[in-house]
């Protein structure tokens, strides 16, 4: 039936995504829930934009390691690489750790989404209800595979760009107050570097998840192109949005609010008829969260396929999606805990998966497989 159809498609043609689709996926993944929650946790205050630039510089070596590994073992994903580099048993144990990381990340993003719907959009609706409809889409998208998600993102990134750049940023020009970012370097360099570390681990280096799904790139050079172009596009948009938020509502208010973009955009008012543009923020959030959670779910299912040596991952999608949604509900008791986790605990916990483990894999792979370029 439908399931058999998926398998027939799989056997006939191997899934391949083009560089452009890959770039769109990485960009939308970086935007993810970042545009809503903001980055850096309000530590750098007025210099948050400097922290984003510094975070991008921090992220470049990490992304070089990811793309180097993907290009060295072209056509394989992280789980294959782990089993090649560390052998069968140790490789599978580290694979399970990475599966947990992707699973947890997906649950956190779903949690941010349901926090948003609960506090800002539908205060009286049960949390699980908007989530149920979203989960159906995740299951559908992931069952169709990475190629489909790639094509989807290629189209919808245009809507994201249209809504962010042309609508909210252009229309907010009258509201901008440039005194909000002056004086630069007022609190010294230390908060900027700390905030840059948070920026590194919250949107940019989370792209480590793509190592688990990009086994279908076109050429050996694609991974560098996809990762770095995606990083540059993503950080330019994050930078523009963060500028807009600081310039409209000011640094103190950003540190206080849970959803700074929502507050900043609701201040937009052109004449008497263009106002209440928060809808743009919600739409952008929905589109980006769809890509981010789908990629995490795909990574979880592909990892289980490799660890348990199955022939297809598609039958595991539904139970994993439901389990991820359950985890997203039980993971924190309230929104305060969730924001505390995102900025105080997640960066240190994720650093292990984003920088330390890839570095170890990279060094061992370079020594063990010296002959493969």
């Amino acid at each position: 039936m439908l399931y058999e159809g998926y398998r027939r498609v799989l056997r006939l043609n191997k899934e391949i995504i083009s560089d452009k689709q890959g770039i769109c996926l990485v960009t939308m993944f970086i935007l993810g829930s970042t545009l809503l929650l903001g980055t850096g946790g309000g530590i750098a205050k007025k210099d948050a934009w400097l922290a984003i630039i510094a975070g991008m510089v921090y992220a470049a070596p990490a992304l070089y390691i990811y793309s180097r590994l993907l290009s060295k073992f072209h056509g394989r994903d992280l789980f294959d690489i782990l089993q090649l580099v560390f052998g069968k048993y140790l490789g599978k144990i580290i694979s399970l750790l990475y599966i947990w990381f992707a699973f947890h990340l997906g649950a956190l993003v779903e949690r941010n989404f349901s926090d948003f719907t609960e506090t800002a959009v539908y205060p009286d609706t049960p949390v699980a209800f908007p989530l149920i409809f979203f989960i159906l889409l995740f299951i559908w998208g992931v069952k169709l595979g990475i190629e489909n998600l790639g094509r989807w993102s290629e189209f919808y990134i245009l809507i994201v760009l249209l809504l962010i750049v042309t609508v909210t940023i252009t229309l907010s020009l009258p509201q901008l107050n440039f005194n909000n970012i002056r004086p630069v370097f007022y609190n010294g360099i230390k908060p900027i570097l700390h905030s840059a570390f948070l920026v590194f681990s919250f949107p940019f280096a989370e792209t480590v998840v793509f190592m688990m799904v990009f086994s279908s790139l076109k050429t050996k050079k694609s991974s560098y192109k996809i990762y770095f172009t995606g990083l540059i596009f993503g950080s330019i948009i994050v930078l523009l949005v963060s500028f807009r938020n600081i310039l409209i509502v000011g640094a103190d208010s950003i540190a206080r609010d849970y959803f700074p973009s929502y507050v900043a955009v609701s201040a937009i008012k052109v004449g008497d008829f263009i106002q209440r543009l928060e809808l743009a923020v919600s739409t952008v959030l929905l589109l980006n969260v769809f890509i981010k959670v789908s990629i995490c779910l795909l990574a979880v299912c592909k990892g289980l396929e490799k660890v348990f040596e199955l022939d297809d991952y598609r039958f595991l999608v539904t139970p994993m999606a439901l389990l991820m949604a359950s985890l997203s509900i039980i993971v924190y008791p309230n929104i305060m805990e969730s924001v505390k986790w995102a900025f105080k605990i997640w960066p240190y916990y994720a650093f292990f998966f984003q920088a330390i483990l890839p570095l170890i894999i990279f060094i061992v792979a370079e020594i063990k497989f010296r002959k493969i370029i």
């Binding site: 595991l316 139970p319 389990l323 985890l327 993971v331 008791p333």
Partner: protein, 69 residues
């Protein structure tokens, strides 16, 4: 009432999805599917009955705060 809905929805989903797996005659797929589905069914049922399930990330939080605070 919510618990009844959970049972209903899960039985519909399982009845849709289990037939192709059963037909493919792969025992490993069947066992994995039932374990994963069972775990998520138990958590959803507990949530719908209003029982607080302990968060699985608490140990991680304790571990991190031990080193970085």
């Amino acid at each position: 009432m919510a618990a009844f809905g959970v049972v209903l929805v899960y039985s519909i989903i399982i009845s849709f999805e289990i037939y192709p797996i059963f037909k493919s005659k792969k025992k490993k797929n069947m066992v994995l599917y039932l374990i994963a589905m069972g775990a998520s069914f138990i958590v959803s049922l507990l949530l719908s009955l209003g029982i607080t399930v302990p968060s699985p990330v608490k140990p991680i939080e304790k571990f991190i705060t031990m080193f970085f605070r």
